[in-house]
């Protein structure tokens, strides 16, 4: 029998979250850092995101996905972080024992002192199942199309209809157009685009691709291959209006209906999940409900900026270092209560304000000229003006420890709300 590896920390997934977590744990002082990735290379989803727009906050320049990943991969290469590629983590127990498999070691256990979950997200496909019609070839998720075109060099079709206006769908509308395909239109059931404004501008407007809001696909035609789809306008209750239904010829229906955190392992470890984000409930050092198991990146919540993913991972790396060095968490977990126009926050709970805490959140409704404000025990401790807030765009607000420690009180209640800025 081989000896069981007992690293200081084992990180599951080597996308931007896993890479930054590994580096941060290492730089904080952990000696034995193990980074486990099921794919053949590091970088997670970034190698297929060949467009630019990554890194504007951390690097103050706009990089492509592969560029952004490369910077972290180069740094990891200069350390003695134990990188295990082609290795899938199959199981994780609440006591942190994990089981993994690869072709050289077979099935093996790891008994790390701490764990950082960085498994990222997967694409929603639910809508596909709900659309009536046949199940022909030519129905594909936007992420799969991205992989085919950008990694494997295969065009999945010629005439596209895109359902959903999530970012990946918008990016792919431009991509297939540049590759010689044709996009008849993007159909979005909601009254607002699902993706970032910048992507609507540079991917649709620039290429004259129409965006049909409050529309959906009602039927898929074709038995072997998609031959077309029916689309219709929807009413306020998102019910298709029969009289508006029309046929569009296409050979490919691309679905871009959002991402969901990938949490099979978290469930196995008995980690408490947030029904709103779909990821683990974490505190300010990204520790989950299970002691010594941390989480960061899209596994926690779908962050739209990769920079925020990396920041969350840095916090998790430092958290793991503290945990392994005997600094167990203390203090009661105080839930950050989402007040007016706040859908959720990450972290969801805060234990102390000894260190600066960044709260990331999404709003429920789009609004212009607002103020986000955080109050502790009813007293405002942070305030941030925003010109524009939209549900697809995450907002960050920083809590500075000085603001509270002066009061010296025990933290009983935290609330975050978004209100119109008076004037």
């Amino acid at each position: 029998m081989k000896k069981v590896r007992k690293p200081d920390v084992a990180i599951v997934g080597a996308g931007p979250a896993g890479l930054a977590a590994a580096l941060s744990a290492k730089e904080a002082g952990l000696r034995d850092v193990m980074l486990i990735e099921r794919d053949i290379e590091l970088g997670g989803i970034l190698p297929q995101c060949i467009h630019d727009g990554f890194g504007s906050i951390i690097f103050k320049e706009t990089l492509t996905g592969p560029d952004y990943a490369q910077r972290y991969i180069n740094r990891v290469g200069k350390t003695n972080i134990d990188v295990k590629l082609n290795t899938l983590v199959l199981d994780l127990k609440p006591n942190k024992t994990m089981t993994a498999v690869n072709s050289t070691d077979g099935i093996f256990d790891v008994e790390p002192k701490s764990v950082i979950l960085a498994m990222g997200s997967r694409e929603r496909t639910r809508h596909q199942i709900l659309i009536p019609g046949f199940r022909p070839a030519g129905v594909i998720t936007a992420g799969a199309a991205q992989r085919y075109i950008n990694i494997e060099g295969l065009m999945p079709g010629k005439e596209f209809v895109i359902l959903g206006s999530g970012d990946i769908g918008l990016i792919m509308a431009r991509r297939v157009t540049l590759e010689g395909g044709h996009v008849t239109g993007v159909f979005e059931v909601a009254g607002e685009p699902g993706g970032l404004t910048r992507n609507v501008v540079q991917c649709l407007h620039d290429y004259d691709i129409p965006l049909h809001l409050s529309h959906t696909v009602t039927f898929i035609h074709g038995r072997k291959r998609v031959q077309g789809v029916n689309v219709a306008r929807v009413d306020e209750n998102m019910k298709p209006l029969k009289e508006t239904e029309k046929f569009i010829e296409c050979d490919t229906l691309m679905l871009s209906v959002g991402l969901i955190p990938e949490n099979e392992l978290s469930k196995k470890a008995g980690i408490e999940l947030d029904p709103v984000t779909g990821g683990p409930i974490v505190d300010e050092r990204m520790e989950t409900s299970v002691d010594g198991i941390f989480a960061c990146g899209n596994v926690v919540s779908i962050y739209d900026l990769v920079d925020y993913v990396s920041r969350s991972a840095e916090a998790a790396g430092v958290g793991a270092f503290e945990y392994v060095n005997g600094k167990k968490r203390s203090g009661r977990a105080i839930k950050v209560v989402p007040g007016n126009n706040v859908k959720f926050t990450v972290p969801q709970v805060v234990r102390s304000l000894e260190r600066p805490v960044s709260l990331y959140f999404r709003v429920e409704e789009p609004r212009l000229k607002v103020v986000a404000s955080v109050s502790v025990n009813g007293e405002e401790v942070a305030r941030k003006k925003e010109r524009k807030v939209r549900p697809p765009e995450m907002v960050k607000i920083d809590l500075k420890p000085e603001r509270l420690s002066a009061a010296g009180e025990e933290m009983k209640e935290i609330q975050l709300e978004v209100a119109p800025s008076e004037k």
Binding site: G65, P66, D67, V201, E393
Partner: protein, 124 residues
């Protein structure tokens, strides 16, 4: 009289709404940018819109069949399609390092196309 022009900054996902005030064809003021890039962007959208080019080229002998590439800086928006077409025929040989010039002076813009990542030789 000042004319207003509305733009959305596309340089990062914050998507700042920009308002450019123009007086007699000259930029008088830009409002709404969270950073300097936005101000410059609005001025460019007004005078001469530019875009980055990102695509892939074929690579021989690499770990993967395609190499992602990008323009070193933006090129005139109207030339993006032509640039991507020119790159469709390019085949490079592994290994490649991030930043290596793949295609100098794309469609005579003076801008080089560079590799977006390292791509080592396939370990056969």
């Amino acid at each position: 009289m000042k004319n207003k022009h509305q733009y959305v900054c596309i340089n990062c996902p914050l998507s700042c709404s920009l308002e450019l005030l123009e007086e007699k064809g000259e930029v008088a003021e830009v409002q709404g940018a969270e950073c300097k890039i936005g101000k410059k962007y609005a001025e460019e959208e007004f005078k001469n819109p530019r875009r980055m080019v990102t695509t892939t080229v074929l690579i021989e002998g690499g770990e993967l069949p395609l190499l992602p590439v990008r323009s070193k800086s933006s090129i005139p928006k109207a030339l993006v399609g032509e640039a991507v077409k020119a790159l469709a025929d390019v085949v490079v040989k592994a290994p490649v390092k991030s930043g290596d010039i793949i295609y100098p002076n794309i469609v005579d813009t003076g801008v080089d196309i560079v590799a977006s990542r390292d791509l080592p030789k396939a370990s056969s």
